[in-house]
């Protein structure tokens, strides 16, 4: 859709981790649009987050208490719903990243030529 970069499916189960990490990196609270755009940019357009999965994922994180949503001001002074990390979310992120790295390392060990 107006973008020639090859679209890559997210590795299943990683969307929540990506969202949490994105919010952590960005010092302040972020809105949904910002999160999607950030993931896309930082991954050089490789990772695209569909709106259809972004918002449900954000709801899920909110239910679990890992992010907290508040209405605030966007960078262009519009009212926007901003998400910020909770302490529980921070802990969860650490856990998920650790798990992910362990799995990734294992996968690399399998696929890399010796």
């Amino acid at each position: 859709m107006g973008n020639d970069a090859k679209k890559t499916e997210l590795v299943p189960g990683t969307l929540e981790m990506l969202i949490l990490k994105t919010i952590e990196r960005n010092a302040g609270p972020m809105h949904g649009y910002g999160i999607a755009r950030y993931i896309k940019q930082i991954s050089n357009d490789v990772l695209q987050v569909e709106e259809g999965s972004l918002y449900p994922a954000l709801q899920r994180l909110a239910i679990k208490g890992w992010v907290k949503a508040e209405w605030g001001q966007s960078e262009n002074n519009r009212r926007a719903r901003l998400y910020k990390l909770t302490p529980a979310g921070r802990k969860q992120l650490k856990q998920e990243v650790a798990d992910f790295e362990r799995v990734l390392e294992a996968i690399l060990r399998v696929v890399q030529p010796t």
């Binding site: 649009y33 709106e51 966007s74």
Partner: protein
């Protein structure tokens, strides 16, 4: 744990503010879209184009909103509410459909609920005993005589009780009929003589006082009695000081030692128990099988094991006592399965009710399919908006569920009505002997059954239409615009298949019900064959042993009573007898023929016998074919005489004249008294379930008196009008003698047949219901098919088709469906008929009349159901039809 709790809290919070959530989500998405549009614009798009592109990129907003929302909500619960709300709305929008569907379902579910209530009470829980499924009847059997279970002889019972290892206990009892006197009016009542372990075995103790002791089984010690709660209340004013009081049974004194708790009435209808105090001689009786035996299984013992054990014990007895026990086996059956015929009737009724419900479901499925055509657009729109197939199926099934629950509730009402009908279908003096009858009601078990049946039927009638209509062809359905959808070939085929199935089911049920009802009619007719029960007053009197100790006194009473009754004005003749014909009661005995060797054990000559007074055959109107009947001269001291039935004559005197031959009742030894055959009388059926007429031997009650007798008074006018005079005459002979079972002979038989008649009435009801449902079903499909073809018919008429062509077209279609259904239904009906003929006496499997008439009836119904819409079609104005689209 706290995690889960806080999650739940957040969810609840959300639930309370879900409108706000919706608004906020909306705003969040709008914001997202605007940002996206801005991004697109910065990339150089026109503002409008940028906006559309953003919308396209965003995808299905409705779906996203739904999904986000589901994330929060108690998903299943909320969608259920939503589906329910939607279902209610749809049902209210189509009140006609809803009404017909609910009524149809209510009839089907109601029929099943009612029959199940009866089955539950009579078969599943007929007695309120602890661990009912560990209680059994013990029967003796004779393989040569068709394994017909019979009671147990006292000596066999004693041996069984001593030698068995599988029962925690065995108890024997027998019923007797006694005159209770001493307090108030003399009363005729059932009492039971029981062995000491009887109450404890069934799990009951006396409410106060005590039960019997083992030593009270000895003759001479048994003058003690336990009262039933009802009797104690009714007759003894619930006096707690009754223990130790003396009552008089058949004018013998008994000391009351206990009162049973309320609700204990086993054997059914009994309110008074005395010990089975047999003398030594009676306990050694092995031939006469006079005791009913109940037993409780030891824990952990299986029914099969028990059967093997009693079989072995019986075989041992047969070896030890070949004279009496040759060929005798033994078997057990669960206490609650005591009545085989009742269970056959109930399972047939249950099957019929199941058919009715199935046909009801087919009808509703058909209506749903018809509706589905008009709803295919709605489904298409929903699919386009992102509803998954699963969601649509769920929604449609919820609708069906609502229908079936409504049907279930109304079905309960139908069941109440049906149960009233069933309860009123049997005379009171019969139902008190049917275990469980009093507890026929809609209880929790029945409610659960109704719920399960309702849910199951919602799947049966809801699933096919739901799957069908949840799979719309989007393009087609949406393109068709406002036009009514033809329903698609698949759907039409499905509806026709359902109709074919419905007709097949209906034929099977109608033929089955028809065969059964016809069989019953044959039995009822047979029950009164060979005699005339009209205009005959019957009543019963039993002479108490205390005042009628010797046979001479009994004979004298019967002779005098007969003379007095016969002399009454308005009475044609009167007599007495030990059994009433057509009442299904009889005595059986072995008998001997003079000059012929005694047959080997196990092959004895057996006949029913009864003792009758003078003029018996004339009064009851049994024709005497040969010789003469008993007269007032056949008394004690005169030559001993007998009358035999035609069947007995044919079977035992095939090529000779039985008149003048001599017969003896009982075993060959000891040498007894011989009776000379003086007459041959017409056959009278003994028992409604006998497969063939059984031989009968009549002996004069003046020569072989019986203290238990019925009087039969044939009146020239209304029989009941003679009753006061009859009473006065008997009272003149003995004013302390209670008279009971006072009925017109016809009524005796009608009461006896009430059960059959009730089953037949229910069958007819179910059959009529089936016929109606099937006709309505065919009509519905044909009417719909015609309405769908209005345009086509209009074109045909415009092109010159005459009304009769159109008529033929539509009728041909409905006839084709009917023919196919009947072709499938016939073999099913044949198989059903064969199965029923095997299980039920009186049913003839291949009754051409039944098959032909119901096939024709259904064909007629299908033709009529096709004719009405067809005629409407011929009235179609071509112009209107063409414009109607």
């Amino acid at each position: 744990m706290t995690d889960k709790l806080s999650q739940l809290w957040r969810r609840l919070l959300f639930y309370a503010r879900r409108d706000q959530f919706d608004r906020e989500l909306e705003e969040e998405m709008r914001f997202h879209m605007e940002m996206k549009a801005q991004e697109n614009a910065e990339a150089g798009m026109e503002p409008l184009e940028a906006r559309y592109a953003a919308q396209r990129q965003f995808g299905n907003q409705t779906l996203l909103r739904e999904v986000s929302r589901e994330m929060w909500s108690f998903r299943s619960l909320e969608t259920l509410f939503q589906d329910l709300r939607y279902g209610v709305r749809m049902l209210l929008k189509n009140p006609g459909f809803t009404l017909i569907a609910v009524v149809t379902l209510a009839l089907g579910i109601g029929a099943n609920t009612a029959i199940f209530s009866v089955t539950s009470a009579l078969v599943l829980r007929p007695f309120d005993f602890r661990d009912l499924d560990r209680l059994v009847w013990v029967y003796e059997t004779a393989p040569q005589q068709g394994n017909f279970p019979s009671w147990v002889s006292p000596a066999d019972f004693a041996d069984l009780r001593r030698q068995q290892k599988v029962f925690a206990g065995l108890a024997a009892f027998r019923l007797s009929n006694s005159n209770l006197t001493g307090v108030g009016e003399p009363e005729r009542m059932w009492n039971s003589e029981i062995t000491a372990e009887f109450f404890r075995l069934l799990g009951f103790e006396a409410a106060f006082g005590r039960a019997f002791l083992p030593e009270e089984e000895q003759a001479g010690r048994g003058q003690v009695a336990v009262l039933g709660y009802g009797l104690w209340q009714r007759r003894f004013g619930a006096d707690p000081k009754i223990i130790g009081a003396t009552i008089s049974l058949d004018e013998k004194a008994y000391t009351v030692i206990g009162v049973m708790p309320e609700g204990f009435d086993f054997p059914k209808g009994v309110e008074l128990w005395t010990p089975l105090a047999l003398g030594n001689e009676a306990w050694n009786e092995r031939r006469a099988q006079s005791l009913q035996v109940v037993a409780r299984l030891k824990p952990g013992v299986e029914l099969g094991q028990v059967n093997a054990e009693v079989e072995t014990l019986a075989a041992r007895l047969a070896e030890q006592y070949p004279q009496t026990n040759a060929g005798r086996g033994a078997t057990v059956r669960l206490l609650r399965h005591g009545n085989e015929y009742q269970e056959v009737f109930l399972s047939l009724l249950m099957g019929a009710a199941g058919f009715v419900l199935l046909i009801a479901c087919v009808n509703i499925a058909n209506m749903q399919l018809a509706r589905a055509s008009s709803r295919s657009r709605e489904m298409a729109v929903r699919t386009a908006l992102g509803a998954s197939r699963l969601q649509l199926v769920r929604r449609l099934l919820t609708e069906s569920l609502l229908l079936s629950l409504l049907g279930g509730v109304c079905g309960l009402l139908v069941a109440f009505g049906l149960l009233d009908f069933i309860r009123g279908g049997l005379p009171l003096d019969q139902v008190q002997y049917i275990p469980g009858w009093k507890s026929i009601r809609v209880n929790e078990r029945v409610m659960i059954f109704t719920l399960v049946v309702s849910l199951a039927s919602s799947v049966v009638f809801g699933l096919v239409p739901a799957l069908q209509s949840s799979n719309p062809n989007l393009n087609e359905a949406l393109k068709e615009g406002g036009r009514s959808d033809g329903g698609g070939a698949v759907r039409q085929r499905m509806r026709k298949a359902l109709i074919v199935a419905e007709i097949a089911l209906a034929l099977a049920l109608l033929v089955g019900a028809g065969l059964m009802v016809k069989g019953f009619a044959r039995m009822i007719e047979k029950q009164q064959q060979g005699f005339d029960p009209r205009h005959a007053l019957t009543l019963r009197a039993t002479l108490p042993p205390s005042r009628y100790a010797d046979e001479r006194r009994i004979a004298a009473f019967h002779r005098q009573a007969q003379e007095r009754l016969s002399a009454l004005p308005g009475v044609e003749s009167a007599t007495s007898t030990s059994f009433l014909p057509g009442s299904d009661a009889w005595n059986s005995t072995e008998f001997q023929i003079e000059g012929r060797p005694a047959p080997p054990p196990g092959q004895e000559r057996v006949s029913s016998y009864q003792q009758v007074g003078a003029d018996y055959f004339r009064t009851v109107r049994i024709p005497v074919i040969k010789g003469r009947e008993f007269s007032a001269d056949d008394v004690e001291g005169a030559p001993l005489v007998a009358v035999i039935s035609e069947t007995l004559a044919r079977r035992y005197f095939p090529n000779e004249d039985p008149l003048g031959r001599r017969v003896k009742v009982g075993a060959p030894e000891p040498a007894g008294t011989w009776y000379t055959v003086v007459g041959v009388a017409g056959d009278v059926p003994r028992f409604m379930l006998d497969r063939e007429i059984q031989p009968m031997l009549y002996l004069p009650n003046q020569q072989l008196p019986d203290r238990n007798a019925y009087f039969v008074v044939r009146a020239s006018g209304a029989p009941m009008a003679a009753l006061p005079a009859v009473r006065a005459q008997i009272a003149a002979l003995d004013d302390k003698l209670p008279l009971y079972e006072i009925k017109i002979h016809e009524q005796v038989i009608a009461d006896r047949m009430a059960g059959l008649r009730l089953v037949a009435a229910l069958m007819i009801m179910f059959g009529a219901l089936t016929l109606t449902l099937a006709s309505v079903g065919v009509y519905g499909v044909m009417a719909y098919a015609v309405s769908q073809r209005t345009r086509e018919i209009g074109v045909r008429m415009a092109l010159g088709a005459r009304p009769q062509d159109v008529l033929r077209l539509v009728l041909g279609q409905s006839l084709k469906l009917a023919a196919l259904g009947l072709a499938i239904g016939l073999p099913v009906a044949l198989a059903l008929g064969r199965a029923m003929a095997g299980a039920l006496f009186g049913v003839i499997a291949l009754d051409p009349m039944t098959f032909v008439s119901f096939t024709l009836l259904l064909t007629g119904a299908a033709l009529l159901a096709g004719y009405l819409p067809a005629r409407r079609a011929t009235k179609v104005d071509p112009i209107t039809a063409l414009r109607s689209e």
